[in-house]
């Protein structure tokens, strides 16, 4: 599973990345965390507000910092 964090590198995006890392650690799963900061690449996701969060190329949330439980929920839904 590929967890993607989209953001140009502002503090909000960093915070989301930390949350994702913690969520992965809590779940104890094997997932690849990718930070995408290239603007043209972010655009190709169709996202208008960063930070955004995607799993395997599917955008699940944008324009906010997701909490750790939210991210865990996203991952679990994806797994099942």
């Amino acid at each position: 599973m590929k967890l993607q964090i989209l953001g140009t590198g502002c503090p909000k995006c960093e915070k989301l990345r930390m949350h994702v890392e913690e969520a992965v650690a809590k779940l104890g799963i094997d997932a690849e965390i990718v930070k995408i900061s290239e603007i043209t690449e972010i655009m190709s996701f169709g996202v208008m507000m960063t930070p955004a969060f995607a799993i395997d190329g599917v955008v699940l949330s944008s324009g906010k910092i997701n909490s750790i439980p939210e991210i865990i929920k996203f991952i679990e839904e994806k797994q099942s």
Binding site: G7, T8, G9, C10, P11, K12, C13, K15, I39, T40, I42, M43, S44, F45, G46, V47, M48, M49, T50, A52, V59, S61, S62, G63, K64
Partner: protein, 375 residues
């Protein structure tokens, strides 16, 4: 490795400076004094009454107002007229931090409304976010504050329409799927009550005697009253989740903005004491076309971290910059910088971005010139 070399060179530079330059000259000591004076002035005049309420409002906007509908309008769902109009003013809601402006700009460009509203948004966004508006009013005076807002909105629409007319033909490449940002389902009248009373706190706390002596005498009572009202509405309407979300936003914003502003004020107090006044007066004094252009061009290339354009322009003005050039710099400055130019270049391509940069510089200088003549 490259980074290590850079660090080494910085060390070398600092060492040479410390070794050869006598730092304890009157000029430098006075400049240090001036930078602390300016910091003192900002801390006393602007932080408590103006920045802190504005931070709460900005955080509240980000947390309580749904941006989904704004984004929909921006992407052209309701036609071009509304897209332009919204693009020119929505910076006050959307663009509290400069790093959200560029993705939004690219998004508007690629996803529907196209190049016109996208450039409109890019230009006006940084000028009309709530913190920039409030601090411009407070630190630079209401004339420049109002001129900044009006000309940012007007010029942004002009630029957008010119860009659209010029590049209509090849403005076809679109991305069809847009993922709307997560909206908040918080009722608008509740956020209106809370944020509205906060706006009144801001208005009364910054009230000065020139605007009305009668109200001035009781301004702290009024401001305090609205603080209580804000707290009351918050307790009534916000659940725990919403409240912590709001405070979280305020804190994130403060962490982001306050250090920048702190150093921006210190540096600008220092630098403007060192630069000879005559230089600034020759370059951007008075209100000639040339000094307006000098101000808008240097503003366009300079990088201003969020809000630091204000102490910097204030420093320039104290050293003899004219009112017109000050507005030129305020307009062109936050809209463009070398780093943001590179991103715009990537998104728009060479031809369009060069036209855009030229428009920003020319129209900002022009607006400053007119303002300088009127004032």
């Amino acid at each position: 490795m490259k980074k290590e070399i850079k660090t080494g060179l910085i060390f070398l530079g600092v060492f040479l400076l410390a070794y050869y330059v006598n730092l304890k000259t009157d000029l430098i000591m006075n400049a240090v004094g001036a930078s602390f004076d300016m910091l003192n002035e900002y801390a006393r005049e602007h932080v408590l009454t103006c920045l802190i309420p504005a931070l709460f409002i900005a955080g509240g906007i980000a947390n309580m107002i749904s941006t989904t509908s704004v984004i929909k309008v921006l992407s052209g769902a309701f036609g071009r007229f509304w897209a332009y109009l919204t693009a020119s003013v929505s910076g006050s809601i959307l663009a509290v931090c400069s790093c959200t402006v560029l993705p939004l700009f690219a998004g508007i460009y690629n996803s529907g409304a196209g190049i016109g509203p996208a450039t409109t948004f890019l230009f006006s966004g940084p000028a009309i976010n709530i913190l920039a508006m409030v601090l411009s009013f407070k630190a630079l005076g209401w004339q420049i504050g109002i001129a900044r807002i009006i000309s940012a909105v007007v010029i942004s629409i002009v630029i957008g329409i010119i860009m659209e007319k010029a590049f209509h033909e090849d403005d076809k490449k679109r991305i069809n799927k847009i993922v709307p940002p997560d909206g908040s389902d918080f009722p608008i009248w509740k956020s209106g009550l809370i944020l509205g009373s906060l706006v009144f706190v801001l208005i009364f706390a910054t009230w000065n005697s020139a605007a009305g002596a009668l109200l001035y005498n009781i301004k702290w009572w009024l401001a305090g009253g609205f603080v209580l009202l804000t707290i009351m509405f918050s307790v009534m309407y916000l659940n725990k989740n919403k409240l912590t979300g709001w405070m979280d936003q305020v804190w994130t914003l403060s962490k982001q903005i306050l250090p920048l502003l702190f150093f921006g004020v210190l540096i600008s107090g220092f630098v403007f004491h060192i630069i000879p006044k005559e230089w600034i007066e020759t370059a951007v004094g008075g209100n000639s076309i040339l000094s307006n252009f000098a101000a808008s061009i240097s503003g366009a290339f300079m990088y201003f971290a969020t809000l630091t354009e204000i102490p910097i322009v204030e420093g320039f003005m104290k050293s003899g910059m004219g009112d017109g050039p000050a507005l030129s710099m305020l307009l062109a400055g936050p809209a463009l910088s070398l780093p943001s130019m590179l991103i715009v270049y990537k998104v728009l391509g060479a031809k369009k971005s060069l036209v855009f940069f030229a428009l920003v510089i020319v129209l900002s200088a022009f607006a400053g010139w007119i303002f300088g003549m009127v004032i």
